[in-house]
Subunit: 136 residues, 2 copies
């Protein structure tokens, strides 16, 4: 609704989000964009991350521990939190599958289901290897 004006800071934040698959926290974004704009403030980073999320140009991923994480990829997909290293990774089943979950949920709910977010918990490939070598 508001009249958006270009800002180099916001452009840099968006560019960084789109360039990484790390699902950074607001603080990580801050530290990164600080390299280009040494005087940028954390408040500005938050304001722009929320703006981007509201405009649908980024996704906010609420996580149980620590701060929320942000994702520049807006194509619907899920996330896996590795319970060993804490990293957040992408998981992309087909669109049909995502749709079918809403449909199945609707069948069990007296109201309207619009969307859903899934957070998977597991162990990433790298941590699986580490555990395995420790056991030997």
């Amino acid at each position: 609704m508001a009249n958006l004006k270009y800002s180099r800071q916001r452009a840099s934040i968006k560019e960084y989000l789109m360039s990484t698959h790390e699902h950074p926290t607001a603080d990580t974004v801050y530290l990164h964009v600080k390299e280009e704009f040494p005087h940028i403030s954390l408040g500005t980073v938050y304001r722009n991350l929320n703006l981007l999320a509201d405009m649908g140009e980024a996704v906010k991923i609420p996580t149980p521990n620590g701060g929320d994480r942000f994702d520049g990829s807006t194509h619907p997909h899920y996330h896996v939190v590795c319970t060993s290293c804490g990293n957040v990774m992408d998981l992309a089943p087909g669109d049909d599958y995502i749709r079918s979950i809403n449909e199945e949920a609707s069948r069990h709910f007296d109201g309207i289901i619009d969307s859903h977010k899934i957070l998977f918990y597991g162990t990433c490939a790298r941590c699986c290897q580490k555990k395995h070598s420790n056991e030997i």
Copy 2:
């Protein structure tokens, strides 16, 4: 691991959690248990809610806005947040369905998927009615 000792406060908190389907926030639990223990502190409520969650006797539901919510029902099920009134409601598909989501995810992830949490977004039956009557 720790040696648990009985406490009337914890018992009261657990009893309240099991008696309600409201998915209260820590503060709501606090206000309720306060009626029985007027001098209970919010810190004690948080400590016990986390204890119960760690012991698997309650579930912590992280939500995007506002504080986390707690659920005394430990049988696996999902939650729907009504985007109109903010209430959190239960949604219970069959166990097989829950298992199949992990299986489908495993197919798309290079690692191990242990579990998942889903938060659905939608409009509850009551808010659907309200909207409908406003439109007339």
